[in-house]
Amino acid sequence: MSEKNAANRLNSYVNGKKLVLERMFEAPRELVFKTFSESEHLANWWGPTGWTTENKSFDFKPGGVWHFCMTCEDKNQKDFYGQKSWGKVTYHEIIAPEKIVYTDTFSDEEGNVSSNAPKQLITINFEEQSGKTKLIIQSQFESEEALKAVIEMGLKEGMASQFNDLDEYLKQLSN
């Protein structure tokens, strides 16, 4: 991770109901697309740090499913060490080497998805920029209002004044 520089940093922002993540990669677009479209490549990088990915099935086409298991092999991640997490990706749209649209969710070993598991519709665009590749990852949340609410509430700074308001209000009532 020592080779990072500012230009390669992840840029994230919220656009309407979508959370957007952008990042540049110093690699040609065809190669970056390959790391998303070929089973062996995906397994080599998909899991977070310290987690390995094993593919149970992989069918890269619209309507096709990628069913995989991530296992935590890192003893330093105490509680997570040895844990397994099954994931299921269903592809909706594929335009090589430009775009992939899929749904990402948790599943069990057999690939069953529980009805209350959070699902995310992800769109990944691969943009060629003079030999480099810009990845634009858009995650659409199930509830448009939910995300909007979060942003509008301006979580961090909003809460302190909320407490002052209550104090004031309670004072008024008790007078």
């Binding site: 993540l21 990042r23 970056v32 740090t49 004031e168």
Partner: protein
């Protein structure tokens, strides 16, 4: 998290949250502001309380509703964890792409 998302997916409940941003209210005040019937407001408040987005403070014979930090923090950390997961994953991809290109050169 599922509970929270479905709690605020309902427009009236979202309106209640937005109203409570401006300060705590009683059921009657909420009903009046949003032009809803009180039993309807009470029902929505129950869902919001269960999702820990709103909490209630009894005050003499009145019940005052206000935003609850816990649920709001949960939404925030959920968004954060999603961002972190991708950050971490894309770091791995970056390293992997470098490795692939190094191998290509060597061959």
């Amino acid at each position: 998290m599922e509970k929270i998302l479905s709690a605020i997916a309902e427009p009236n409940r979202l309106n209640i949250i937005e109203l409570l941003r401006d300060g705590p209210c009683t059921v009657g005040e909420i009903a009046e502001h949003l032009r809803l019937r009180q039993p309807q407001v009470s029902k929505h408040l129950r869902v919001l309380c269960e999702a820990k987005l709103v909490e209630v403070h009894p005050m003499a014979n009145r019940r005052i509703y206000k935003l609850h930090v816990q649920g709001l923090k949960e939404i925030d950390s959920w968004l954060d964890s999603f961002r972190h997961l991708w950050e971490d994953r894309l770091d791995q991809l970056d390293d992997y792409l470098k490795e692939l290109q190094r191998k290509e050169k060597d061959e």
